[in-house]
Symmetry: C2
Subunit: 161 residues, 2 copies
């Protein structure tokens, strides 16, 4: 049967997708392990859900409760009570928005920001350590390929350093 000229190329592409998907899934699991280790450092200070709340807060200067709940994918009532505990732990503050007194605006306190920074830098160090163990010739290729992947996945690629 006369195959189209692109036959081999198409097959090759399909194999590529399978191979890359497998590699990506493995990487995904590796990230989970890295996260777990990074988090172990602070598990005594806050719980994991509380930490995730702090992370969301760290990416916004301030936020109202509904938005936080939305970002975390939890019910507003859950967010309310988590914030209550984080206030008690002195990691965040909550104040009424004077422009719209329905809203309560939540903000990280210094201790909260410090905690997030600590975990992030721990994770960053761990990733950097892995990269250091990679053949240096691969590093540029990894950055380039991941940026393409991130782009295709609907995220901004590398932020300006």
């Amino acid at each position: 049967m006369g195959r189209p000229p692109g036959y081999k190329y198409v097959m090759h592409t399909h194999d590529d997708i399978d191979a890359v998907t497998a590699a990506v899934l493995t990487t995904s699991r590796l990230f989970v392990a890295i996260s777990a280790r990074s988090l172990a450092a602070m598990e005594e200070t806050v719980t994991l859900p509380q930490y995730r709340m702090l992370v969301v807060l760290s990416t916004r200067d301030s936020a109202k409760l509904v938005d936080l709940a939305d970002q975390l994918g939890v019910n507003p009532s859950t967010a309310t009570r988590m914030i209550t505990r984080l206030i008690k732990a002195d990691l965040v503050v909550q104040e009424v928005n004077p422009d719209n007194r329905r809203e309560r605006v939540i903000r990280l306190k210094p201790a909260g920001r410090r905690l997030v920074d600590d975990v992030t830098s721990h994770r960053r160090a761990e990733i950097a350590a892995i990269i250091t163990r990679m053949p240096s010739a691969q590093r540029g290729a990894l950055a380039e390929a991941l940026n393409a992947f991130n782009e295709a996945g609907g995220r901004t690629s590398v932020p300006p350093g």
Copy 2:
């Protein structure tokens, strides 16, 4: 201080590591988002911790409770009660190990395995979709680079044959 001949090379390497680390961190966040979407499909059937338990079980033919707790990083008592609920949901079975009657061996039931498979294939499809959107020239490079990364991150010390 007289700089060693390798100065520029070393600096370049350092920049590489920073750039790659940033890209990896972004990818890590992307994976979290992908996971969240994949999980949304089954949130009505089991809770997230329960799902993670099923995943651990899916990688072993059978397991005793302590091992499961260990893999999940939770207390054995927590694992006990989670298994109790999964049994009630008909997703796993538990039986006494005749060789060592202290141990209770837990195993996935078909419904449990099906659930894990569904979520996994959903995630795999989502990753494949992203890869399809990537420039095809990048795919091979991504697989190669990720394999190197996984290798470097997989085991900190002893690489198996």
